[in-house]
């Protein structure tokens, strides 16, 4: 039995100040004063925001296959540092997570490491090649209990395959999480198609290649009455389409990534491939639109699309470089900078978009994204909103350091993370208490 933990004077959801008692992995008391056992570890949370543990529905852990970029262990550690207690590991591994065997391997390795709950995402199609449905049922009924299916990295572009996937996933309350990218409109694409691509001579990735797939998919989801999740929505037009679909009652949810909340295609001007990502960094008008969409609830979730790549895949010509950015450790700081400190979201809203809604989409809401209340599992994140820090990618716990945020100052960060009452991340200020 671990010692009880008493988290004193935390600001719950940024609203009310209270003390939280955690015993045996469960919250056993919440209140202005709490009767803590004598042997309890005391965590002084004065000035800190307490949120339910963060949940990422879009993480690349790279294992199996690309352990040079990330492993389930290093990715889990990075997630815990970022304040996450659950991550959904994307299916584009080698081999692809398109069978019960692979998803169970990922799931059990995550459990063995125990730093976050790792929920595997299953591939929609065999080998992500968009032609034959994978055995979604087997993955759903495996120990990994897969509920999110995605060919992320590739788009399920064949409308018939997409329709069947949406319909079939209803069998086990699954969701198809679509990487919306028309493949023909993006052959060889290198960056957002616009004024910057015109000048830099890099092949354009037009907004319409994302928007046309989202438009088709919301119509399909509405037609067959299925759940659709839109991965990494990045354009103003996509926000409009999702808003329209929701107004028509389509069961659609959408993600936005921290980098699309902060950065624009102007960053590409130096040809530094750390800014190469898919979908690409868009314009300021798009950044403004996705922020507004997140603020008004059109966009449900902030997910990271944490995508580790080794140096050699980034330290090269732009066209030769891999697409993707790491982002677990910087996510909450960027959300604070772009949404909370600007007044667009409250911390209670952050709990919704980074914990409750993602848990619901992944159908893990019985375990994660729970209220901070008596009887609930003690998945908790303490955030210091007044702890400015400068991002140093080489200091990341990820095996890779391909962050686009190096040198940027963020206003706050997660300073402690608890998974079932066990600290999985403690900033140095708390290490003494648990020694």
């Amino acid at each position: 039995m671990s010692r009880p933990i008493v988290i004193e004077n935390a600001s719950l959801y940024g609203d009310t100040t209270a003390t939280i008692l955690v015993e045996d992995g469960v919250i056993t008391a919440v209140g202005a004063t709490v009767d803590a056992p004598d042997d309890a570890v005391v965590v002084d949370a004065t000035g800190l925001i307490a949120l339910p543990g963060l949940v990422d529905i879009h993480t690349h852990l790279r294992e199996p296959g690309r352990e040079d970029a990330e492993t389930i262990e290093t990715g889990s550690r990075s997630a815990a540092i970022g304040g996450f207690t659950a991550v959904h590991a994307m299916a584009n591994t080698t081999p692809v997570a398109d069978t019960a065997g692979v998803v169970e391997q990922v799931w059990s390795r995550g459990k063995e490491i125990g730093l976050v709950d790792v929920y595997p995402v299953g591939a929609v199609t065999v080998g992500l090649d968009g032609t034959q449905l994978s055995e979604m049922g087997a993955m759903a009924h495996s120990k990994a209990r897969v509920r999110i299916f995605s060919d992320d990295g590739k788009c399920v572009h064949d409308p018939v395959i997409m329709r069947r996937a949406l319909e079939y996933a209803k069998t086990f309350d699954g969701v198809i999480s679509q990487h919306a990218q028309d493949p023909r409109l993006t052959e060889g694409s290198q960056m957002h198609e616009g004024e910057v691509s015109a000048e830099l001579g890099l092949a354009g990735w037009p907004a319409v290649a994302e928007e046309s797939i989202i438009a088709r998919d919301v119509l399909l989801a509405g037609h067959v009455g299925s759940r659709l999740n839109v991965c990494h929505l990045s354009t103003a037009g996509s926000v409009e389409i999702v808003r329209w679909a929701k107004s028509r009652g389509v069961d659609v949810t959408a993600e936005v990534m921290p980098h699309h909340l902060l950065l624009t295609d102007e960053s590409v001007r130096g040809y530094n491939a750390r800014f190469k990502v898919n979908p690409p960094l868009r314009t300021q008008a798009d950044v403004d639109a996705v922020r507004a969409g997140l603020a008004d609830g059109t966009i449900d979730v902030v997910a990271t699309d944490h995508a580790p790549h080794p140096d050699e895949d980034k330290d090269c010509e732009w066209a030769a470089a891999a697409m993707g950015m790491i982002g677990l450790e910087t996510a909450v700081g960027i959300v604070q900078k772009t949404m909370v400190d600007t007044g667009a979201l409250t911390w209670r809203d952050v709990a919704r978009v980074m914990s409750e809604a993602p848990a619901r989409i992944g159908r893990v809401e019985d375990e994660h994204g729970r209220p901070i209340a008596v009887g609930e599992p003690a998945h908790l994140t303490l955030i210091d909103p007044a702890d400015p820090w400068t991002v140093d990618p080489s200091a990341s716990a990820s095996r890779s350091n391909n962050s686009p945020f190096g040198g940027i100052e963020l206003p706050g960060r997660a300073v402690a993370t608890f998974l079932r009452g066990v600290p999985t991340h403690l900033s140095p200020r708390f290490e003494g208490a648990f020694a």
């Binding site: 015109a198 830099l200 001579g201 890099l202 050699e312 010509e317 030769a320």
Partner: protein, 319 residues
Amino acid sequence: MRHLLSAKDLSRDDAILILDTAAQMAATQEREVRKLPTLRGKTVVNLFFEDSTRTRISFEAAAKRLSADVINFSAKGSSVSKGESLKDTALTLQAMGADAVVVRHWASGAASRLATSGWMHGSVLNAGDGTHQHPTQALLDAFTMRKHLVTDPLGNDLAGLTVAIVGDVLHSRVARSNVQLLHTLGATVVLVAPPTLVPIGIDPWPCDVVHTLDQALDAYDIDALMMLRVQRERMTGGGAAFFPSPEEYSRIYGLDGARMRRLPDHAIIMHPGPMNRGLEISAEAADSPRSVIVEQVANGVAVRMAALYLLLAGEEGAA
């Protein structure tokens, strides 16, 4: 000036200095002994990741006439084809003590990466990076225009001239470089291309855009008409479909004798080479007295001598 990466980096004064220096270099090329001792002891590497015999020998001639040691490094590989990476190539050149690297690469931004990644310390001279920039081409074009169209070339820019550039603007580093440099030098630039070959996002470019060559000939008093090379196979095959057929392209955008005769008498005809005779330009136009296409090649050597000189000898104050 430490590197020459983009025409955009050049101020009007920079550009005029290069053109004036090129004029001096060109004058030396009329002498019996054409070799100058200026860059003796300096090493210039021609690093070519893309085949371009014309550009390579132009730079090679320029460096040799300035007495530099020249190393030609043809690196077909790339990080894509699993050859040596750009970084390792750069480290190798650094170890060999290259004072300047002239780089031609299929990837936009490759020259900028070489110059700014800290892999090597020498000057980088961009000899064409993907569909981005080819600054010495724009400089040699400006030099050629100034020589033919400006009464008193030395010290002067191209104010008042109108230049039309016809063809595949989307994939053209020549067009990108020329639009920026010609604008800096005060010329009016008109791009002529089918909408499929005009980049989305062109609005801020300091130029006009029209969609047929006849329209350009009607609407502008053109002083210089520059025809761009069309990559025949790339344009219509493989589902790229930039235009329906080479024949249709030739009908709407090709420069034939009839269109040539609609130009003002003093107007010159240019082409960066290599030409597709019968596609973007007819033999009648290419071989006419108005054509300065062969002279562009000679001017290329003088301009590249000037660029190498200003990059490598400039800091020592010799003028």
